[in-house]
């Protein structure tokens, strides 16, 4: 580990950018503001690149570290603000600043007409700073600050157009749901501190925990991850988060922030390896979320909602990856997903921008004629996410599913005390993940065909047009990256032949994550077979989508919908989860709050305690006042009576 003194510049620069944009942004000329906002992120990118170069060279240090300052000491707890960069966090820094820069560039054109553009760029820079702190922090507390910071920026940006009540409440929903998860994160930190007396990753790395505290800490931290990374049961905020500007959805709600939970689990891989039961929970939740969100995505008509549920579903894949103990596969999908999902979101943003705010896919269609760049990049990213060989998504998704099939990490777990072992859990997850892959192919191709193929179905007064190159350039770069990302996951023999094996993520991230046990549950299934199955699933999904939506309209699929109206309506209404939460959690809370307000507060606290005290004092006073009336003779009478009483008592 090499000690350096310039790592703090990486998060500090965007933070300064945020301060400048936020404090004096409305007084600066627009071009200066853009220079500050884009320049700070780009400089951070360049610094990140040099750091990345240092840690990725074979001969250099495995990690850079900077102790910025001593943060606080309280009793046994000692926390430094320390930053550390290794190959994984270095790569993520490049993704955050690189994709972040592209999205800043895109936003220049996208948000140009908005009066509050300076506020937007301030938030966006602040987000980049917080996300960098999350990734770079060398202890859980620093990570938690970044964790909360990105949550704050997410809230601010979802509710960016807060004049619209629905958007403002979508921001609040995201914040509140995230707070529930953050509570779990905090508890996890407490458990680790109580066991270890330290919160730094370096100490956690080498520590051996007892079984129960390890499971508790891992589970609490995973609750935090379900909030931030939109997993069951806390995923509900992410689809609503689409109320924010589309570049925000691309950066925060697809590429970076929502993957923080996956990153956190991968960073704490040594802790999680000591809690295989929790890993099983992670994998099961991931698989269920992936399938659940994919089902909903098939029936959404808002293009951004489709992408949002797709993100939830893909995050589920990442959790499958880390859950089966393959932290490499989970983080690899995190990286490739960042590229193609950001590309998809920016593409949808270009479509929405070109159609003057229209988000309903039923009013799109045939846009390939008007928006060739958007169409091609969207096509590439769609191909990547649906697992078309040889794009990046194919390898990273197949890596996860393959590892799920092979994993032996659950072999020692029992379903219940004394029950059978969970040796087949990996297989179940593999099957569920593969079914989800089929759904992914269907709903993503549906999205593509409804948007770009067929005839234009929008109103005559809307004239679709291609966007400025500020918007199409990031699209192309991201599309290129979602192709090039394949080098991360090339199978070993092919990689060696192409001399690209150094770039494979498994090789590159060696030594950062804990290694899953070597033994393989399904030795007999060769790798090419899982590749073949994955490929087949992708093609079948595509053909089904072509059959149903290939004409660019939903005519054929409507027959299917007519056959199962109830199923479709359930999917369309997001499986009634929001309604369920409303009935089970929100309404009882409301009722409870009303009871507290109307009964406990108004009657008991205000009425009984506060006014009651005052009134009883006044009542006693009104009685006592009668004796204090200034009539000397009455005093004398009282004195005489008192004297008589005393005489009676003492002389009795």
């Amino acid at each position: 580990m090499l000690e350096v003194n310039w790592l703090h510049l990486i998060p500090l620069l965007p933070l300064c950018g945020a301060a400048i944009c936020g404090l004096v942004g409305n007084k600066l000329p627009k071009s200066w503001l853009y220079a500050v906002a884009l320049g700070s992120v780009f400089t951070a990118f360049m610094i990140g690149l040099s750091a990345f170069g240092l840690v990725s060279s074979e001969t250099g240090a495995s990690a850079l570290h900077e102790r910025v300052f001593e943060w606080f000491t309280a009793g046994k707890l000692h926390v430094d603000l320390g930053l550390t960069i290794d190959r994984v966090s270095g790569t993520l820094v490049l993704v955050i600043t690189g994709v972040g820069f592209l999205i800043h560039l895109y936003s220049v054109s996208y948000m140009d007409e908005d009066a509050a553009y300076w506020r937007y760029f301030a938030y966006l820079n602040l987000f980049v700073a917080a996300m960098l702190l999350l990734v770079l922090g060398d202890n859980l507390v620093a990570m938690f600050v970044g964790w909360e910071g990105v949550g704050l920026c997410s809230y601010l940006l979802i509710g960016f157009w807060f004049e619209d009540d629905a958007k403002a409440s979508a921001g609040r929903k995201a914040f509140i749901v995230n707070r529930i998860g953050d509570f779990g994160f905090l508890l996890g930190i407490f458990v680790i501190f109580s066991q270890l007396g330290s919160v730094s990753f370096a100490d956690i790395h080498g520590a051996t925990f007892a079984a129960v505290p390890a499971a508790l800490a891992a589970l609490f931290l995973f609750i935090g991850a379900t909030g931030k990374s939109a997993q069951l049961p806390l995923y509900i905020w992410l689809p609503d988060a689409m109320a924010g500007p589309t570049p925000v959805s691309a950066l925060i709600h697809a590429a970076t922030m929502v993957t923080a939970g996956v990153y956190m689990i991968a960073r704490l891989s040594h802790l999680y390896m000591q809690a295989p039961g929790v890993l099983a929970v992670v994998a099961i939740i991931g698989a269920l979320t992936a399938a659940w969100a994919a089902l909903i995505a098939t029936s959404q008509s808002d293009i951004k909602k489709v992408l949002a549920y797709s993100t939830v579903s893909q995050l589920g894949y990442m959790f499958i990856g880390v859950g089966v103990g393959s932290f490499v596969a989970g983080t690899q999908h995190l990286l490739t997903h960042a590229f193609f999902k950001a590309c998809l979101f920016l593409g949808s943003g270009a479509v929405i921008h070109g159609l003057h705010g229209e988000q309903d896919m039923r009013k799109m269609g045939g846009l390939k004629k008007y928006m060739p760049h958007t169409r091609w990049t969207f096509l590439i990213a769609t191909a990547a996410i649906t697992g078309t060989i040889p794009l990046s998504g194919f390898f990273s998704k197949d890596e996860i599913l393959g590892k799920a099939l092979q994993t032996s990490i659950f072999n020692s777990l029992r379903m219940w005390p004394g029950g059978p072992f969970m040796t087949q859990l990996g297989l179940v997850i593999y099957l569920l993940g593969s079914a989800t892959a089929l759904l992914t192919a269907i709903y993503m191709w549906r999205c593509y065909y409804l948007t770009f193929e067929g005839d234009y179905r929008g109103g005559p007064d809307v004239h679709p047009h291609e966007s400025h190159w500020f918007m199409t350039l990031p699209l192309w770069i991201l599309a290129l990256l979602s192709v090039v990302g394949l080098v991360l996951g090339l199978p070993e023999p092919i990689g060696e032949k192409l001399h690209l094996d150094w770039a494979s993520w498994e090789h590159f991230s060696l030594g950062v994550f804990a290694n899953p046990p070597i033994s393989n549950n399904h030795e007999s299934i060769p790798e090419w077979l899982t590749y073949g199955i994955a490929l087949l699933i992708g093609v079948v999904g595509w053909r089904l989508a072509v059959y149903w939506f290939g004409s660019g309209s939903e005519e054929r699929s409507n027959k299917l919908v007519a056959a199962f109206p109830r199923v479709h309506s359930a999917f369309e209404h997001k499986l009634y989860v929001d309604e369920f939460y409303n009935a089970v959690i929100v309404r009882p809370l409301w009722t409870g709050a009303r009871v507290l307000w109307r009964v406990v507060d108004v009657w008991i606290i205000d009425g009984l305690f506060i006014n009651g005290t005052a009134q009883s004092v006044a009542f006693i006073g009104s009685i006592a006042r009668r004796f204090q009336n200034g009539d000397v003779q009455r005093y004398a009478a009282m004195t005489a009576l008192g004297l008589a009483f005393l005489v009676y008592v003492f002389l009795r």
Binding site: G630, D631, V632, A640
Partner: protein
Amino acid sequence: MVGPLHYLVLAAALFALGAVGVVIRRNAIIVLMSIELMLNAVNLTFLTFSRFPLVVKGNDAPIAGHAAVFYVIAVAAAEAAVGLAIVIAVFRSRLTVNVDEIDSLKN
């Protein structure tokens, strides 16, 4: 045979009369007179114990009762003089000696 009890009962009756007069009468002069009555009831008690020294064990200086009575008479004379002077002053300014109406310190 007239014993100490007779004197003491008379003194108690006089004191009670004075006390009731102080409490229930509204004329300031009558109130002052009632106070005199109470003081004299006390004087009578002193003299009783002086005259029958053996009533209280260890009372070997009966002259002390006489001394106390003279003292009370002197103070009572002074009190009557001051009290009557105040009553006259109040009557001059307010044209009444009814104690219920002399309440300007109240409120």
